[in-house]
Amino acid sequence: MPTGPAGKSPVDWVRQVALALDLPFMMIGAMVGGGLVGYFLDVWLHTAPWLMLVFGLLGLIGGLRGVLQTLAQRSGTPGGRGGRS
């Protein structure tokens, strides 16, 4: 089988590029998204800044969980239950 850049098979290479695009947005997107939801709830309920902080924190926890689960699914190691998908 021909190898791609960095000596990997094309499938592995494309999979890792997808991972490089996926993981950062899972982390920051969840945090920023949670913060935005909290911000709008704060504006609506006049509870600033508490809901923004709480939702941002929840987003951060969710993002971190998502990253760990994605890594586990792709490799079948740390934190993984089901192995490679």
């Binding site: 791609g4 490089a20 947005f25 982390m27 941002g56 924190l57 971190l64 490799s75 239950r81």
Partner: protein
């Protein structure tokens, strides 16, 4: 499967490209829209850069931790210290961004656009690798 995000050199290039593209977009925004948008774009690209850098290091250390437990059929546990360290870093980053949002004015939309500097950098690297790879395989 190893957990390296493509090659080491490519990862370095993506980091530099993220910063470079963010800076270029910031300069363009400064000329076209003014400093708040430029500051938001540059800040967003800096967050994208630091996020990629932290994740890269996290993935590498996680791979190292899993390789340190060979022969274990069951999935080994993720080191708690590593996860808490990651959590602390991002919590600190979130608090810094929140404090900056309170203290200074910077447009959230420009900041969100700045985050996409990483996508542009990865796509640029992808195109570069494909062009270089295609040219190399054509002659070998």
């Amino acid at each position: 499967m190893d957990r390296e995000l493509f090659g080491q050199a490519a990862q370095q290039r993506v980091e530099y490209l993220t910063l470079g593209l963010g800076l270029a977009a910031g300069i363009a925004a400064l000329a076209l829209r003014g400093w708040p948008e430029a500051a938001g774009l540059v800040l967003g690209s800096c967050v994208a850069w630091i996020n990629f850098r932290w994740l890269r290091r996290f993935v590498r250390r996680l791979a190292g931790a899993s390789m340190a437990q060979p022969g274990d059929e069951k999935a080994p546990a993720v080191p708690k210290g590593m996860v808490w360290g990651m959590f602390g870093r991002y919590a600190l980053l979130g608090l810094v961004l929140y404090a900056m949002l309170l203290r200074f004015y910077w447009p959230a939309l420009a900041f969100l656009c700045g985050l996409f500097a990483l996508v542009a950098a990865v796509l640029l690297e992808l195109i570069g690798e494909l062009v270089f790879w295609g040219r190399r395989s054509m002659f070998t």
